[in-house]
């Protein structure tokens, strides 16, 4: 097995794969990482030259024609906004900035600053015109943030190219928040994936074997700040304009890494009943939600393929 690490999208992408030689493995890794780099140059809101940055600059003033890939990506994102009733929403760009999560670990915003961004958030304030492949913001302050979908999309694209080479067994991880298990290592049924419990360091929530599917995890451990003893994470509720506080961790398994990435974030934001309704419509998806109950941690497992341990 060969392993490679590549810094991209503000994290490290790790690729483990089986190949006949180091030369083959390196070539495959280059193919995968070049694609990740390409997706980053398309979607990064930190790079002024990216297509997403161009849309953020120009769409408040006029309709912006974009390429089919970017348009389709936005259509997918908007479809998830619709299905999740706005729990997943790419228009949180200004909101993330107000909470200090743009290129930093966050800070408490002034009440006035938060009130100012209210008009700048809302997926329904963006017009996507498929006939002309144009994007138009209906509010001038809207800014798209690819967090919660971009890494999943990059993983899907890279896996698509690895399959074409063909690579038969690989594990691609985008900073561990989204992982795709392609095929299986020799003499194994799949790739073993362990989920640590976000609420208890050193403990394992569950382990499972995955093959030809992805898993995404959302929690507040990666980017957060503590103010006056209270933890504020970077997963925002677009409706309340505040970080979600009572959900601890969400894991989603789906054959699409884009979908598992989006859903892990959307389910994190949604209420319990809302989550159940959405998951009912997605029979191919498995989900595990860990939330704060009245007295103890609670978990909701939907079609979850492994035992969950909340105590170890």
């Amino acid at each position: 097995m060969f392993s490679f690490v590549y810094p991209a999208m503000g994290t490290e992408f790790t690729l483990h794969l089986y190949a006949p030689s180091e030369e083959h493995a390196s070539a495959a890794a280059r193919t995968a990482f070049e694609e990740v780099e390409r997706v980053e140059s398309l979607l990064s809101h930190y790079r002024p030259s990216s297509e997403l940055s161009r849309i953020n600059r120009e769409a408040p003033r006029s309709s912006v024609t974009t390429d089919p890939e970017t348009f389709q990506f936005l259509e997918t994102a908007w479809e998830w906004s619709r299905r999740s009733d706005g729990a997943f929403d790419m228009t949180v760009g200004r909101l993330m900035k107000a909470w200090g999560f743009y290129g930093a670990d966050g800070s408490l915003p002034a009440r006035k600053a938060l009130a100012q961004v209210r008009d700048d958030v809302g997926w329904e304030k963006v017009r996507l015109d498929p006939a002309r492949r144009t994007v138009r913001f209906l509010e001038r302050g809207i800014e798209l943030d690819p967090g919660g979908i971009g890494k999943g999309y990059a993983v899907d694209r890279a896996i698509h190219l690895l399959r074409q080479l063909p690579v038969e067994a690989a594990l691609l991880s985008a900073g561990s928040s989204t992982i795709y298990a392609l095929g299986a290592p020799p003499d194994e049924t799949g790739w073993k994936v362990t989920i640590p419990a976000a609420h208890r360091s050193e403990s394992v929530l569950c382990s499972m074997v995955l093959r030809d599917t992805s898993i995404s995890t959302a929690n507040h451990t990666e980017k957060h700040f503590v103010d006056n003893g209270r933890l504020y994470g970077s997963i925002m509720n677009p409706r309340t304009l505040r970080p979600v506080e009572d959900t601890i961790q969400v894991c989603v398994i789906s054959t699409s890494a884009t979908e598992s990435d989006v859903l892990s974030n959307a389910l994190f934001v949604m209420e319990r009943k809302q989550r159940a309704r959405l998951l009912e419509q997605l029979p191919h998806v498995s989900a595990l939600v860990l939330a704060e109950g009245r007295r103890a941690w609670q978990h909701e497992a939907t079609r979850w393929p492994a035992e969950v341990s909340l105590t170890t």
Partner: protein, 407 residues
Amino acid sequence: MSVLSARLLKSTPLLAAEPEATETAARETHAEPVRLGVIGPGSRGKELMRQLLRVPGAEFVAVCDVYEPRFAQASELVGHPLATYKDHRALLDRKDLDAVIVASPPVFHAQHVIDVMLSGRAVYGEKTMGFTPQSCFDIVDTVKKTGQIFQVGHQMRYAPWFQESVRRIHAGEIGEPTHIYAYWCRQDDWRRVVPSPDLEHLMNWRLYRESSGGLLEELGSHQIDFANWVFGELPASILGTTSIATYHDGRTVGDNVQAILHYSRGRRLVFNSLTANAMMGEQLWVYGTKGSVQITPEDATFYTEARKVITAASHSSVVQRGVKTGASYKANGEMPYRGPGARIDARNAEEPTLTACRAFVQCVRTKTQPIADVHAGFGSAIACSIGKDAVFEGSTKTIPPLTQGHA
């Protein structure tokens, strides 16, 4: 060498929200379609297609490639099936093309762009414009003969921070520019993944002398074009060297290149490309008698030389008392400058390739010649076509002027 002292100027923002740009974009949205064909939808060709699809009205109709898997990739990229051809002449037989993008390997550029122009279409030809000196002259002749719109893929000419830097250099802000140091360094063996060994030369054409001018041609051509733009002329000769220092994998072009291009009045472009060390990245330094400019893929920064201080010394202090003698060593006088400069802020600038593609579509619509025209393409390509032999031989070679080919 003098110690530099930066005169910190205010950062100059470029391309802030411009009402004109908005109006232009709005007009473009309703623009008439410009129907395009592509010869060579490989990695660069697909990137050009992606950028052109962001230009209102640009539509792809057909592609041509000798490697069939490109057809499906190109169709996936545009989102609908494209007509496909293995022979570019069959593509040119179509009646519904307004313009053609040529992104084949440079060894085929002349044949492809000339045939496109002779078929009566505008052409966007990737750099380097021609592979041999004769092919460079032939392309110039064809543009002259057909009057066709011909744009070369020197997208740096469209980057606003490049344009602003050259404007300020020409305005004398760094005095007389005498030297340009160009770096293009990567940590990358430059190899493409090859599905089967028989496709090695087809896919990895950049690595072999018969199909590639190596790093000078693939990377240096942009920087030679920039030097020609700054100095306002073409280089007269080129001295170069190359070697394989790291990637001993059967390639016949070097994995590093150093070249010096000679311009009039002693002016020089010094080009350095490494592929096993990315420390210097991609950057240009223009050195003038009063200052320097660093230009990167994202911005440009101006530095001003410390002024020589002239004071009026009195007759009594110098002539009557005399001057002291001693060692001329000065401890801090030759340290590199490490302070700030005046940055041209290009945060709102779009990807230069998109700007170049947008400009090309506009040229097709308005039937005008582009900024990166055949003369810009010639100036860089003729130096590369001669220079690739100079670096391989480690010799100095004369670069023929444009007039020579039209004797």
